[in-house]
Subunit: 313 residues, 2 copies
């Protein structure tokens, strides 16, 4: 038996056929084109599922289930996208709509950050754990919480918004309307903003050379300049690590996951991020020196986490 995983984004809809060992057998994608309407988006998904099956010489009977990772507020129970700004959708019963175009019986949907956490839990960095949390450091800070191989997102299925935990009461404004959210400090967007501020503050910083080399300011800039010994860049990295550790320790103190995976662009920094981060976490953790501790690991599956997770919903 196979599963089909769909990663529904504002720009692209990706689909993968996944085998029982959670390996990706084949992948396809099409532009999402949300401006063409909800039905268009749903038909795309049904079409991708059909093409994956036909290309692999499978019938619908060979497919156990299809799962969809979607952005925004999702109700997995009713199969509804309740609100997703970059899909221009509100209260759309997408699962019911997709059913019209496919014979696959079981169709599930959940928030993309939750689904990525599930992917890492079944086939990635948190494989074999009783409970895990995944934090994605990208444009925003996404989160997902998995217990015994199932996404936990609360009684109404809209939890897992770890990025919207306030770490600094009345701090930096966040897109969600609150002030001081984790996302406002630990997203790549936040890191880039801090890096630009530091460049303005210090015209002699190595950050300016890094800017010329990369042709832009990115989430890597401060890490590169700090490695070259630049003090201003090191301050940016220090502050970034401090807030990242703060949020991670908060999660550990509350939930004590067996593994906490870090994903998204910033997690590619490797040792330059992980060594100071682990040091800060060890200093701050509530219960020290007794029992086993949460392991911090870098996510393994990249963009495939959503596809594999979706097939396992």
């Amino acid at each position: 038996m196979y599963g089909i995983g769909i990663d529904l984004g504002g720009t692209k809809t990706a689909a993968a056929l996944i085998d029982e060992e959670n390996r990706i057998v084949s992948k396809l994608s099409v532009p999402t084109e949300p401006e063409k309407g909800n039905d268009h988006v749903a038909d795309n998904i049904a079409g991708l599922a059909e093409k994956l099956c036909v290309d692999a010489g499978l019938t619908y009977r060979d497919v156990k289930q299809m799962g969809i990772a979607a952005p925004g507020a999702i109700n997995g129970e009713t199969g509804t996208i309740m609100r997703a700004h970059n899909l221009m959708m509100e209260d759309f019963h997408i699962v019911d709509r997709i059913r019209l175009g496919t014979k696959i019986k079981v169709i599930k949907i959940d928030n993309d950050a939750n689904v990525a956490a599930l992917g890492e839990a079944v086939a990635g960095a948190a494989r074999g754990t009783a409970c895990s949390v995944m934090i994605t450091l990208g444009t925003g800070v996404g989160g997902g919480f998995v217990i015994d191989g199932k996404v936990f997102s609360g009684f109404n299925h809209i939890g897992g918004e770890f990025g919207h935990m306030v770490l600094h009461h009345n701090g930096r404004p966040c897109n969600c309307g609150r002030k001081g959210c984790w996302e406002a400090y630990s997203s790549a967007t936040a890191l880039i903003a801090r890096t630009k501020e530091a460049m303005e503050r210090d015209p002699s910083s190595e950050l300016h050379n890094v800017y010329k080399e990369l042709g832009k300011v990115s989430g890597k800039s401060a890490f590169i300049a700090a490695r070259r010994g630049d003090k201003t860049a090191a301050e940016v990295v220090d502050e970034y690590v401090s807030y990242l550790a703060c949020g991670i320790v908060n999660v550990i103190n509350m939930l004590q996951p067996e593994v906490l995976c870090l994903g998204g662009g910033i997690s590619n920094e490797g040792a330059g991020l992980m060594i100071p981060l682990q040091k800060k976490i060890d200093e701050e953790i509530f219960v020290r020196g007794i029992g086993r501790s949460t392991e911090i690991r870098i996510a393994q599956l990249g963009n495939d986490a959503g596809l594999i997770g979706a097939a396992n919903l």
Copy 2:
């Protein structure tokens, strides 16, 4: 069948016989006297269990299980108090030790805040919910998380430390060593400290009259003076409510419990606390206007939550 719940505190060890409807049939208590050693504390518990049974005319066969709510870091799997300062215990296999003095077969133990959350979930304000969180506003800020009638405290059973979630990075120092923990803002201890500061700042505040009436500064002082129209006291209450709402919204954004119960002394303020608190929560919550929302309720069982929860571990 009956259960026995034990609430093991630094000063007092309370025990209750609980029936199948989670009603307390009888209660007993003795001084804990931790200075007399671990075995003394364990023997007390076995003795209380025996007396409860004898007084009720029951044999050990009528008792399904005994549960213990204990302070500090507890490993429920091994039945160990790993660290509990006010019991002067470290790495004490208390369950094994109690077994020597009783014929009750099933003996369980967990952290007191987790157990109180379980009590409210099975028989109190969160009865009948799929998942709930209880936050206790007392000397510290305690927390417990219950899913499907079971305490969730992570893979190593030391989670649920909601009070040690930082809300204000580099903020007020907390007993745990971090800065800016929820406990440093929303405990009764914190509220009393802020009230005293306000009294020093404003010698004409109504808080001084309230002090004379109560004979002390307590967690009620600011609420009483604010109700009488005192501006300084109202500022203390506003700040308190603001941090309390901040922590609660953080928990909701992450876990979306069906009910979040507030317990401890401060929760007795009733409408004076709950009305401004709910308003602030509604303003800050991440997902608004779609789906069902977490209900904030005042805990119902008081000190009995630990006894009833323990019998249900």
